[in-house]
Symmetry: C2
């Protein structure tokens, strides 16, 4: 089965986020004083082929742990959606 | 009212994603031949104070257009959730 995965990688709450601070400061300069707590993370989409949803989840856990996230400073979570039709000719 | 916004910024489908290609190639080397169509985007969380959900959405549209996304090559979308209790002392 083919699954579409949406993976979110975010900095742990205790870790400083200089990019988020920079964006918040930029927004203040643009007049948006009402925006706070800006945190910037990664959003990854991919297609994974596996025997079952459980197998796909297990593989994604390893992939996130080893490649996509630095688990010392980052958290991750993901959502899986089964792709019903073979999407070989996507434009 | 305070709203928690989750913003997703992704490359338009027609734009090449070298980082995604690099991740896919890395996964192949790790033995994950079953992963395809890797695309890497940004995930931004923030808190916005506005009079109504509609007002928050309008402000976020401008913020995304002007600062968070490059609309020539990127798409964005966001989700808003109302924060019911004042969360001033988040740890």
């Amino acid at each position: 089965m083919k699954y579409h995965a949406r993976i979110y990688v975010t900095l742990r709450p205790s870790v400083l986020d200089p990019a988020g601070v920079a964006v918040q400061s930029g927004l203040k300069h643009m007049g948006y004083e009402n925006v706070e707590q800006v945190r910037i993370g990664k959003y990854i989409e991919l297609t994974i082929t596996a025997e079952s949803e459980e197998a796909a989840k297990q593989q994604l856990d390893v992939i996130c742990d080893r490649l996509l996230a630095n688990v010392v400073i980052e958290n991750y979570c993901f959502e899986l959606t089964e792709i019903s039709t073979p999407a070989e000719a996507k434009v």
